[in-house]
Symmetry: C2
Subunit: 253 residues, 2 copies
């Protein structure tokens, strides 16, 4: 990859910071950041070559601008920046196909959950690419490969479905484990005791169909245990237990 | 540990087989199995020293009998076997404290999900021990330490709560990942693409409070994305999405 590329990043939130960090790691030196929050980068970042701007016009003749703003403002921002340079949205949910722009636009969506203070394992991370312009798409695929070695072309429609699936597999599982941790705390038992069990199940999911490895009272439709459990739950917890138990019983009929 | 111990196992289901396997690995040679399904052990098992019986009386003078039968028949089976030898239930939900028995009884509960054809990583696996008889309890703690190096004394009450927490953290997460996999299949996207995301989140949970690492539309109360997602779901999927999204919003208020 040509490290002389002129690259812009709009937005220095959780996602923008990780993109900037990755571009620095990859040896890019022509990096310009546009951020409402000013020039505050994490102290740990080797950002000596990073320029700042508060004028989109400075992106003129840039090879690409990564737009890492909130979903709510993404379309408007892509529209604005695309007057001056090719631009990609990094969002899994935002649709751009309806936009008519001067410079090519596209999507460059890493399927990962970003927090500013947590490192990202880029290698192997699936990066989903879309662009109407064939040359720009080829450039994005090449850049995606550089980022993670796992760039995948995916249409807008399918990206929407992927994002929904990710909410289930990532956010909802995370929340349910959080509920379990709360429940442990409420009842004076250690959440740590559950970790080997969680680990083993997640390891099994790597190489088995998740449908085939489920155990527990619901999959056995063991109503006696289910009733006992319901008596040990508060109303909100009970709602979740019942909803998921009902769903499991239905799926294993 | 004294490998001359006389050890019985009642039941050769998913759990009984793994207990037998572990006892063989640990070098025990006086092993006797009582099983309705007869003498059929997995061919891979080095079971040359294993005896079979169909009479509980043969357990007389045994040091311990592991009772690995269904929860429904556990209490009755423990009652029967305890006429001849000390016996433990391996269940997380069954209560035995009300039983009056000739020989000591107790619980020896490994917090893990067992399938006959999948190996178990015993080392570090939390094993929960309970027994009213102090000598028997000390013996169980020692045996538990031999099994996994992680034997923990836990009362009946707390074991019930632990089992409920495990249903959330293990069964429900597994099912939700299964729903995500189904959804991917329905919409022509690859479930494998989600695995790096799942892995990274589960890795974060090892050393972070699960409450602090949640991302996604629900924790941001991003109603625009939530509404878009609901339109992409079938009624059953929608129920789960709504229930969990509501729960997340409530927990992060």
């Amino acid at each position: 990859m040509n490290q002389k590329l002129k690259i812009g990043i709009v937005g220095m939130g959780n996602v923008g910071i990780h993109f900037l960090q990755r571009l620095i790691e990859l040896g890019h030196t022509h990096l310009t950041v546009y951020s409402r929050s000013g020039n505050n980068l994490p102290a740990s970042m080797n950002a000596k070559d990073v320029q700042f701007t508060n004028d989109f016009k400075e992106f003129i003749d840039f090879d690409i601008v990564f737009c890492a703003v909130n979903d709510n403002t993404m379309v408007e921002m892509v529209r604005l920046v695309s007057k001056y340079a090719p631009v990609v949205s990094v969002s899994g949910t935002v649709n751009l196909n309806h936009l008519k722009t001067k410079y090519p636009i596209g999507t460059f969506y890493p399927l990962q959950s970003f927090k500013a203070d947590q490192s990202i394992l880029w290698k192997g991370l699936p990066l989903f690419i879309e662009a109407a312009d064939p040359k720009f798409k080829a450039f994005l695929m090449q850049l995606g490969h550089e980022f993670s070695e796992n760039a995948i072309e995916l249409s807008e429609d399918k990206r929407q479905y992927l994002h929904v699936a990710a909410v289930f597999a990532n956010n909802f599982t995370n929340h349910i484990i959080d509920l379990a941790a709360h429940y442990c705390e409420e009842h004076g038992i250690q959440f740590d005791w559950l970790k080997p069990l969680i680990n083993q199940t997640m390891e099994k999911i790597q190489s088995n169909n998740p449908h085939d490895i489920l155990t527990g009272p619901a999959v056995r439709n063991d109503q006696s245990t289910i009733q006992k459990h319901l008596e040990l739950l508060k109303p909100d917890q009970k709602t979740i237990y019942q909803t998921l138990t009902k769903s499991i019983i239905k799926h294993y009929k």
